[in-house]
Symmetry: C2
Subunit: 706 residues, 2 copies
Amino acid sequence: MNPTDTSPRAQVIARLLHPRSIAVVGASADLAKINGRPLKHLIDKGFGGRILPVNPKYREIAGLACFADIASLPDGVDMAVVAVPAREVVASVEALGARGVPAAVVFSSGFGEMGEAGRALEQRLADTARRAGVLLCGPNCLGFINAFENVYATFSQYADGETGPGPIAFVTQSGAFGTAIAALVRQRGLGLGYFINTGNEADLQFAELMLAVVEDPRIRVAAGYLEGLTDGDGLVRLAQRCRELGKPLVLTKVGRMASGARAAASHTGALAVEDAVFDAVIRQHGVLRARNEEQMLDMLEALAQPRVCEGFGLGIATQSGGAGVMMADRAEEVGLAVPELSAATQQRLAAVMPAFGAAGNPVDVTGQFVARPELLRESVVTLLDDPQVHMGIVWLQLMTAHVDKLVGIFEEIQARTTKPFFVCWVAAPAAALQRLRALGIVVYGAGERAVEAAAALARHHAGRRRPPQALERSAPAAAPAGAADHQGMLPSVQAAAWLQAAGVPMAPVVLAHDADAAVAAWRYFGAPVALKVESPDIAHKTEVGGVLLRLDDEAAVRAGVATLRANAARHAPQARIDGVLVQPMAAGHVELVVGVQRDPVFGMVVMVGSGGVLVEVLKDVAFRRAPFGVDEGLAMLAELRMGAVLDGVRGQPAVDRRAIAQLLADLSRWAAATPRLAELDLNPVRIGADGPVAVDCVMVLRDPPA
Amino acid sequence: MNPTDTSPRAQVIARLLHPRSIAVVGASADLAKINGRPLKHLIDKGFGGRILPVNPKYREIAGLACFADIASLPDGVDMAVVAVPAREVVASVEALGARGVPAAVVFSSGFGEMGEAGRALEQRLADTARRAGVLLCGPNCLGFINAFENVYATFSQYADGETGPGPIAFVTQSGAFGTAIAALVRQRGLGLGYFINTGNEADLQFAELMLAVVEDPRIRVAAGYLEGLTDGDGLVRLAQRCRELGKPLVLTKVGRMASGARAAASHTGALAVEDAVFDAVIRQHGVLRARNEEQMLDMLEALAQPRVCEGFGLGIATQSGGAGVMMADRAEEVGLAVPELSAATQQRLAAVMPAFGAAGNPVDVTGQFVARPELLRESVVTLLDDPQVHMGIVWLQLMTAHVDKLVGIFEEIQARTTKPFFVCWVAAPAAALQRLRALGIVVYGAGERAVEAAAALARHHAGRRRPPQALERSAPAAAPAGAADHQGMLPSVQAAAWLQAAGVPMAPVVLAHDADAAVAAWRYFGAPVALKVESPDIAHKTEVGGVLLRLDDEAAVRAGVATLRANAARHAPQARIDGVLVQPMAAGHVELVVGVQRDPVFGMVVMVGSGGVLVEVLKDVAFRRAPFGVDEGLAMLAELRMGAVLDGVRGQPAVDRRAIAQLLADLSRWAAATPRLAELDLNPVRIGADGPVAVDCVMVLRDPPA
């Protein structure tokens, strides 16, 4: 199924998801039980391939020949469902490998989710599967559904009802929450093409499975529910592939807050990703994040409809001025425009609704359209015709007595425009919902939710229009002499020179070994200088009284050198002192903090934040995965709440955002090519008329984890 | 109905809302029309009093005797519905007054909502009604319902269905949005006791009508929808009365953002209230704000159930670890605690669910309870028994095959605890919803929404426990000589002295008329001083180079006086110069801005915000209506995002929050007693080891609007 990946592993994943024969190991004759339900669903839903129950207790189950053991299975079985007690799973997987069955879905629980012993058993299972050549989905999972081919390798309650197929592929790490979301998809009249629960992910992980199904041309939207993530590269590859395919990827991930993260850690074996980094990286790669299951469903409804949204302009027509205000407010909050209408549009609207004079956006059509349906129809069509309007929302309520009339109006509007529009019908009669959905018209029950979904649609199509990031990781940057295998903090002068060579503007700095050298450096710079103690053992110089500012005569410089050595001797008596750094005072009225961290999930991540006290108090920071270009750097600056300071407050001049973005981009490219970088702080980076300059730099090198 | 108000106006409002006879002016024989629908509803729903249609065209409508004109009406009619064209309304109201009908509900539109001419007509209507002694609800309204007494003075579509009665009073400024909310109340299985649409509020306003119905002992919860507000005092009185009655007041108000405020202004005649002030003042008075109609409904469900919530501790039991994490995250965001459980509770839980070892909060009961219902029952009861847990949420999904079993479990839990608990059942079968609601158990469809509703319940009961603010407005503060009728900016020295006398700590200041006096003042203070130009024409001294800091020798002070005069002459040549202010430099490492503004709706409002550049960039400010006590002052500081700075960052000591709160409270009392105060800025207020001191002060006096 996956034209981009023809590896043997990809071919096995294809056999797993599109099997022509399925063994059910541990099959029960009680079709209501976990180990009986897959048989029931496969039969009831009409799976066209072979179903091969395995259980020594039976000769036959539900009319199917039952095999005594795995060894007795015929040749060419594509995959097995394993539904035996935890203690028997390893042996079953070993036997499957021996019999040549290349893939298994393991329902059994009692692994990584059950403490130390469970984790050890899961490790043994993973090792066994690898050795035996069996690909695993699970353990501790509900299995999966491929609704196109009636593959029900699952015991999820979701399979009990109507199950599609439809244009959405849904992959979930949680069984219970995933079932809930699948059921909500059904309630909304949408359909799932695939439902996959990855469970403990001992082998196959979320991104790899999603990557396999998103290629299916019948899939238009990818949706995922995450609790933890270890394979950041996989997720980024998935996001990039979705983007190439033009298919939106919507993710919900729990664990935003400290307390939540704690609970997640006790719930899954996965390493909790720092949420701010996760959030930044997925947005960087065009993923839409839904904050909860309701928002996910709202987004899926908007994204599953086929119309393209060419911009961020939202036209709103309502039956209530207040609802219009509420939606316009929300639109502004989520980054949509509610544009003023052109003079031509206003004239047309005034002609439709003469009583209301100049008509703006939102358009208040009032309740009069009940008597005169053309009022609603013509005003919405006119609104959508405006060149600044790229999509529309029509708000109305109740109208139990007018469902026929209104459905007819919306059908006409649908035919007369190619722009996407949503109906928001509060307290809608059930018949109205059903009939509009049957016409392919998206309906919401609340105004703010409709607006949020519209924003998701606009963002998705804006992402499609943006040229993809063509950044190749550069070849690993040559480390300067001594840094190639250095462990720990690199001396400042060496670190600064390396960054300067990579294009990062660094304040000039000289390492003086004694007072004479410091005075010579001050004379060389010909300007007030800062003195800073330099030691491989001191990362935070100010904490040991190791920084003196604005020295501008010989006596002060000499005294300063003595002071720094005395302070270091008092506050850090064990520290080796390399000397004193001499640096001209940096100009610039704006201060930022820039840094790089090697994230355990996503690798090198660049951060920029407000400088000074604020970075600690407000946590006003933006992240991006390295490498990235200048546009992403600009986007990072736009995310800062302190961004207005860059444009000049209290009479200060604006600074050059592009120059800062260039610094961020250059730094990101260097970081991505420097795998031994563990941490980097440029704090502060000062920005004045001459652009940004990094004043201080702490760089820590360490071999990356294997 | 209102024991606190026995005024004639209150008695007329009571006749309006509890009439024994209703005239319908302009009644139509077509009961589907706006002017026929009230007759239909009054008859169909069984209104027990007299119904008196008025229309010269008919002798009889729907079996009721029809009167030719208002003059022909019998004596003692309690109220009239007026449903005639706009141009006939004034004459009708005049005739009603002449006939002794004391109150009218005016459906007719074509008034303030329709531009200049409409506003003039509305003014004429209001004047006529006052002269004629007729109380008005409307115009441009849907009317009202008193469901307890089957009074249907309305043409709202909501009346077409089942209409209660129930424990909720709902008053709405919007007809269409209000109808939508009423319909949602019905969908949730809740009931309205009153539904009142206030329309253009030419006479009776939102707060006065709500105040009348909230007294009804059958009402447990008050809910309101607002688009604009002019009577701030009325809203505060309403909030205070709700608090005395122990009844929650939930408000939704549209117009949060700039664009929204614009649309609201074009939609209603009401003056748009600055939303941040509105938000702060209603919270100060214990009002719960719902951000939209869905959140309002979620809150109403929680508040309409009778159980009391004794604290902010939330216990969560789920069938999905991820759902637990999501709810715990949201709980933290909305100010609830998800407490660690006591050792005793953990032991009891471990006994219930031995496989899971130490059991925390959230409790993950997994899907096993389907086989063993006692697992869910006992774990939820145990969780709710924990002394740190004040309310509970149980999360589950789908379970179509287990509705009976689960409903039974929840009924048992309900009987075994007195603490409030909500069921969150995602994709619940319709039967489950219906049966749980019939048992009085509150059910939500999404976890985060359940948590938000729980937070509203906890806040409501916390507000009931807090002793009411016993602040009397003090007698008007005696203005110092010259300030009593001063218009405009008051000289700094005079303003500072006045505030100092009111208990606000002000930095010492001396007005020096020449350099000799300035030097004498500097000697007197014996410390570095600031010099500031003083002029009634200069509000922003720094903008004219009018401030010099840290002067500490005679020559510098003399030169400083000359510099300030020269700068003023250059930058503000027309300004009258009173002299130079001499002030010792204020200590203190934290800077705040404190101010007072006379809000057109709520009167004196005190503000505190982050000082420096931040107040402009971050708008990090908190508001309260004056007067208030120290506790509210502390609450204001707790709202500041920069609050952590008060507790010491980067090695700085913490400052005394209570001393700042005392300053805010003292200032608020003085401001409330100083009606001529138009604006006050204390900027900066510096806070160090000795507490806060206001360094600079700009005070503007102006006669209050009539």
